[in-house]
Symmetry: C2
Subunit: 312 residues, 2 copies
Amino acid sequence: MNKSYIALCGGVGGSKLADGLARILPPDRLTIVVNTADDFDHLGLRICPDLDTVTYMLSDLAHPQRGWGRADETWACMEVTKQLGGDSWFQLGDRDLALHLYRTQRIKEGASLSAITSEICRRFGVEHSLVPMCEEVVNTIIDTEIGELSFQDYFVRHQCAITAHRVRYEGLGRAKPSAAFEAALSSPQLAGIIIAPSNPILSIGPIVGLAGVREAIAERRIPVAAVSPLIGGKAVKGPADKLLAELGYEAGNGGLLAYYGGLIDGVIIDSRDEVIGANPGNLTVSGDILMKDAQDRIRVAQLCIDLLSRLT
Amino acid sequence: MNKSYIALCGGVGGSKLADGLARILPPDRLTIVVNTADDFDHLGLRICPDLDTVTYMLSDLAHPQRGWGRADETWACMEVTKQLGGDSWFQLGDRDLALHLYRTQRIKEGASLSAITSEICRRFGVEHSLVPMCEEVVNTIIDTEIGELSFQDYFVRHQCAITAHRVRYEGLGRAKPSAAFEAALSSPQLAGIIIAPSNPILSIGPIVGLAGVREAIAERRIPVAAVSPLIGGKAVKGPADKLLAELGYEAGNGGLLAYYGGLIDGVIIDSRDEVIGANPGNLTVSGDILMKDAQDRIRVAQLCIDLLSRLT
């Protein structure tokens, strides 16, 4: 029986591990479930930053350094948007715009986010199953020292520079896992769940907070392995360490484990970091988890599959 | 007392004469009223083809030959739209897209088309008053041999190649002239109205069909001069001659005069064309009305002002 896997991921770090997994697992053995709680409307368009980042990575269109958008991008529309006095704090490239226009139009036509994501993936040559965590609108709200902020306000406009007190996911209580996520979770082939090195609070929190997800994992005793987004106590990209600390967790792998609590059975940390001391019920594996190129991504993906086989 | 003028216009031919008039009249003496009955929604964006063409022409951004869009344009977004299987029959350039995104966003925010047009003009450096004919949505519907078609379906998709039986302007009965159009019509300075060499049925018909426009002109005895869109019996661009013939008018300047009926007091036709024989109550002036460059546009604009002064 062919084992299948679920990867839970956000944007940058998540897209890298998703790509590594897609390079070692055939399409019918991997479901990539992507956070949609930082989706938002901008210039009248529906933007799904994490879905887009993963889509571009898997279709080999991603910008190799920037962490968002396409490599072959131009900015003519943004230049004129600035001239017109329109919102330009969120950069939208000319090619990228086509994706947002297409998605926004299909939403108006009544298509589900899952269906639209699948159409975009097919057109971009992505063979693996890339699915939104849910169809419903969920909004991550960050309560900060200057009041409540939407995710993009906090992340892009304020560059995460202000102190957060609390994070909540507006609408999550009414949301259900998407049909493809649900199907992957209940598949008899499911051999493990991989939590990508994405921000635990901003990217993974909404996915595992969906109704029934933790219960399904616990009930079926599906092994769960997380890759740490931290190296040397710092997030490779983004505010994971800062946010963990601000919300009362240790700003390091200890804090990560505390946040994930009973959810995970094993964790892969970087070999440069100390193995977490008190770690009952968790298997910690060390390795080089920095992903700069496709070979790195394959290596970390293989570490995940190996760890899951040890956890079964 | 400074005399002021109103120009009624559609897209290509209209934009050229509007530009000529703007080059010889100061901003406070010219109101350019633009047809909006071929505005439509495309890829979720509100597109106003005639307003855009005139805006680009007056801001010196227009493509010199094509008759629509900008000179400095790229097509990256359209290429990806095609790849995604999205609608690509109506070409939207990357820079042009910014204008449609801005307008669509402002409409959602509740701004009027007049206010938005004025914002865009200010940002693009257009000093003359460019105003939509009305704020309400009006849709030109062409009843053809294959059934009723929207304007863009007829004009862009079918390239006007099919036979029209009738043209109607859906929503015109509920529409009122925009405030700026109304104000220009009732200004004591108003010395004349210029009908640009646009398609009489598709571009001018909706404007003069607005409630009260013909009445205001007749009541105040404002002289009206039209520039023929035909040279040698053929439209310089577009289907004016073909459409006149299909709707039962002569396919030439005689048909043009019959269509405008009692509305106009004088007409400027090309010197290559025969002066229309039976033309009671109309002063016909001949000149070189082909507008290839700014000098041509100034010359035809001056012909209009001269004719109007003779008609006063």
